[in-house]
Amino acid sequence: MTDAAHHDARVAESLSRREMLEVTAAALAAPLLQLGPAAAQPALQTAPKFFTGPELALLDELAELIIPADAHSPGARAAGVAAYVDFRLAESLEPEQQTKWRSGLAAVDALSQELNGQAFLQGSADQRVAALTRMAAGEQDPKTPAEHFFQELKRSTVRAYYSSKIGIHADQEYKGNVYQRGEFAGFDAQ
């Protein structure tokens, strides 16, 4: 893990006004909503607002691959990550953001064509993971368009998932944001 990565970790743990700034701000620029399974799975429950149907289905699958359902908790699909990103981009007043996402998804399909000879969602489960693995290989130092897009995709997925009902309660089992009575939080003040 890089310093920057751990910096993020600390940032969210702490404190007063450390440099929450770009990382957090940019990350926040992503995340919400209810959205059903996609792609090979049953159809999306909400109509896309910014993306085309196929783009949204692709994003939904990518998000679920990044944070999948497991025995512990549901994943990004159930948490509605793709629909939230779609909603935020639809109302965005920053055309360059919109362009970045649209061309990023196109880069994913282009990479998949190169690796597997077909679009991402047409590939088998193994082929999809292989394409995403290739995108993630440059996570620390992205070079190709698909590698650059992976950073944005992952940041937005993380932000949307861990601020969702599923992320906070089912996955993280967060205990706070409640009125405490009696014994208060913490280990020991002595």
Binding site: S14, S16, L65
Partner: protein
Amino acid sequence: MTLVRVPPPLAQDVDLSKTYDAVIVGSGAAGGMAAHVLTTRGLKVLMLEAGKKLPIEQELRSMQWPYDHPRRGDAPPGYHSLSFNEYTIRTPPYAKSSTFQHVMSYVGGWGGSDYVKNILVDEKDHPYTGTKYAWVRARALGGKTNIWGRLALRLSDYDFKGKTHDGYGDDWPISYADVEPYYDKVDLYLGISGVKENLPHLPDSLFQRPNKLTFGEVRLRESLKRMGRVLTPYRAGVTTDGLKHNRYRSKCYGRGACDRRPGGCDIHAVFDSPTGLIYPAMDTGNLTIRTNSVAHEVLVDRNTGKARGIGFIDSATHKSYEAKAKVVIVAASTLESARLLLLSRSPQHPNGIGNSSGHVGHNFCEHVMGPGVTGLVKDLVGKPPTLDDGRPGGFYIPRFRNLKERQPGFVRGYGFEGSGGFSIFPGNAMGTPGFGAQFKKEVRDHAGAFIGMGAFGEVLARYENYVDLDPDAKDAWGIPVLRFHYQFGDNERKMCEDMVVAGREMLETAGIEVVGTDEKILTEGWSIHELGTARMGSDPKTSVLNQFQQSHDVKNLFVVDGSSHVSASCQNPTWTIMALAWRSCEHLADEFRKGTL
């Protein structure tokens, strides 16, 4: 156990035809305290606040879940918060030629811009020029106390008598013994949480129930003890036991929303000026408030040279008004107060009122921040989640440099603020590499195992660090704006290098693996602890105010905010601002009754 939900008192009508006993410019920690003390002593007071009176509980929404907000706390499209990059690459005015409709300081980008978008100023309306500076301003009743970080510390004679200790700068005209009774009053009136440590360099307050430390924090505390250093639970300006005398504030219920927003507490367990000071002052019947009132001049009596009131502009209508008073109290924040004094030029005070010394705007100081460390407490990996953030803050490590020994390379010191344990958002997720089931599990297993801390260091007061008025640039109301001539120096850079080394050493000694360090110094202004610019002193030639924050030049003019501080120390200033304002306003009330003002 019931929450207090008492509506604000009914406002009194403003009567600008009348001469008030005192007019106060600003409603934050300093202005609020002045209002409290003076109205309690029976003075008829008019308070002018440049910002709006906000329905603050609706702004803060402290317990709103991220997923119950349409943008997970973000402001709607059209709002932009300045980033470190923007502060670094560009020069003020930062919002100039921005394509965004509204531009906020970096605090807006700190996880919840929608909750502060009406509290922070719009940089587009409030430009400034000169050197790089991350100037955070809140124009609203209560000012920055609506969203402050809550760390409530005392200064000691290591600070008040800094020059005596190490030869640098100037001593304050007062010592700890002068201020101690007023710190006590502030503690008891507003409530503060913490643990007694008996440190000469960080005197104890009269504490209410402390907050507990988490597992990792206790481990660090034990290890530091062996190093001769102290880690103490966050000394929070929060009432943890409640305040019988204040019906506008609830005690703290450890709800845990304190750390995921830019601050603010919608049950007012955290001190804020409106519920802590201003509403009770209104209840005396002696306080009148006018919001949307942008002060631009301390008016002067042409015969006596004394202050006679305040010239201000209504922020909504842009109409000009005068407020008349026998005493003028400036409490607009360190930089805005300096600006107001400099703006107040008259034949009697050609350099600005109270500025015969030429020191207004100078000796500007604050805290430097940025360096910090993150550690991983291995024993906590994979442990089930616990409630770790149900408290107003984590811990504080008081200054340990340049107390008995002399540190090579720099004078003065720094303290660390930090915390460890679970919080609502697993910050480690951003930095955990990869994707898929393994990634997800790793985030879960490590979420509560990190501990992080960042330092706040004293920036030396230097005459050559100053603000003045820009000859050309004006704000949205046509008022000349501040121009910065301010930069960190070598002492700050050396100190920041030491912060990283010392932070790393402290975690490692505790057996906590250091997984990240920050060496970067954040932009000047980032700490939001600007101080100096109208310092106190015994010599009218080298200081602006006497020990009671009273102008050397103009007897009925007081400046009771952080601008009066002679040095920054490394302790967060709010509690000291209020203790000094209390002390000065008691003196003011005495002199007012004697007729000497």
